[in-house]
Amino acid sequence: MRSQSIYKVPQGKLLKISVEYDEKNNIIRDIRITGDFFAYPEEAIELMETKLRNVLMEREQLLEKIRTIISEYNIQFIGVDAEGLTQGILMCKP
């Protein structure tokens, strides 16, 4: 199922996330991360979206995966962080 969230990151920007959620297996099938935040380099967001496919929709797993991607690809987010992304994704869970 396709599910969306809108999440205002504390002291940050407005995150709008759309997830194709596989309820049976509790995983992300597909994800689109949009909003008025900043990320350097910008193209890293597409990479992040690809890498989040098939990740378990649980706080711990999401947070760890996002932190790993950020550090591996040296991504700098402004107006959002790993916690904010995790929260926005989890809010897509019905």
Binding site: L14, R32, T34, G35, D36, F38, A39, E42, I78
Partner: protein
């Protein structure tokens, strides 16, 4: 002797051409063939630009834009949707390694916004930088800014509001919750301002540009020398307009 940077006054252009020129400047600067450059420009027809990460159809009422003859374009910079009508837009491109540009992104926002604030001061307007990317006066936003760093080069562009029509702006933008749209519009009217509102009279684009020129010169201790786009920049701009900014692929990609 003061360092000399280039000043470009490219006048009023379409959203696609405007974004293409900024990207062309970034590429040309990264190749070391042009000095750091400050550009002032406007938008005709009026246009909405959205941030790189935004969903076009989530943010923009495309049908109303078409009906009112308003262009829309996706920027290469992050940030939010902006309605460009009565404003001066600036851009600056400069190597990341330039001593005047802090390595830290947030600090560099503050520094470049400092130039805009000094420019406003020359118009008699006191303002302050409010992180992440706003300049406010009396608690109200007068300038929004967005920066990208590519090819070891900084591009920051931003608006200086000369006048603002919040009702028109909201007829072109979508809001997350239609039920509270009226309240949102009322709130935004309280939270934005413009040169005209603050000074009580219209100030011409030319006057604002003159003040901003001085602002950039003072902030960066340089002399801005008016120049033109190089042949290569023009070719690049035409290419970027055709291949990216005027295409559905680019504008609707998210």
């Amino acid at each position: 002797m003061k360092e000399q940077w280039r000043l470009l006054q490219t006048g009023f252009n379409t959203a696609y051409a405007n974004m293409a020129v900024d990207r062309a400047l970034l590429v040309a600067n990264s190749e070391g063939i042009v000095p750091p450059t400050v550009r002032f420009y406007g938008w005709v027809p009026p246009a909405i630009s959205i941030g790189y990460f935004q969903s076009l159809t989530d943010e923009i009422d495309v049908d109303t834009c078409k009906k009112l003859g308003v262009n829309y374009v996706r920027r290469i910079t992050g940030g939010g949707a902006v309605f460009h009508e009565k404003e001066l837009t600036y851009s600056i491109v400069i190597p990341e390694s330039h001593p005047e540009i802090p390595k830290n992104i947030m600090k560099s926002y503050g520094r470049i916004c400092g130039a805009v604030m000094k420019g406003l001061q020359h118009l008699g307007i006191e303002s302050e930088y409010v992180p992440i990317n706003d300049i406010v006066t009396g608690g109200r936003k007068i300038s929004g800014n967005a920066q990208t760093r590519k090819l070891e080069t900084v591009l920051q562009h931003g608006t200086v509001l000369m006048d603002v029509d919040v009702d028109k702006m909201f007829s072109l933008l979508k809001v997350p919750n239609e039920k509270i749209k009226d309240k949102l519009i009322a709130d935004v009217k309280q939270r934005v301002t413009s040169i005209k509102h603050l000074l009580g009279n219209e100030v011409s684009f030319k006057e604002v540009a003159e003040a901003m020129k001085i602002g950039f010169e003072e902030e960066f201790h340089v002399e801005l020398i008016e120049g033109t786009l190089t042949k290569e920049e023009k070719i690049l701009a035409v290419k970027f307009e055709k291949e990216f900014f005027s295409t559905k692929d680019w504008n609707h990609r998210r």
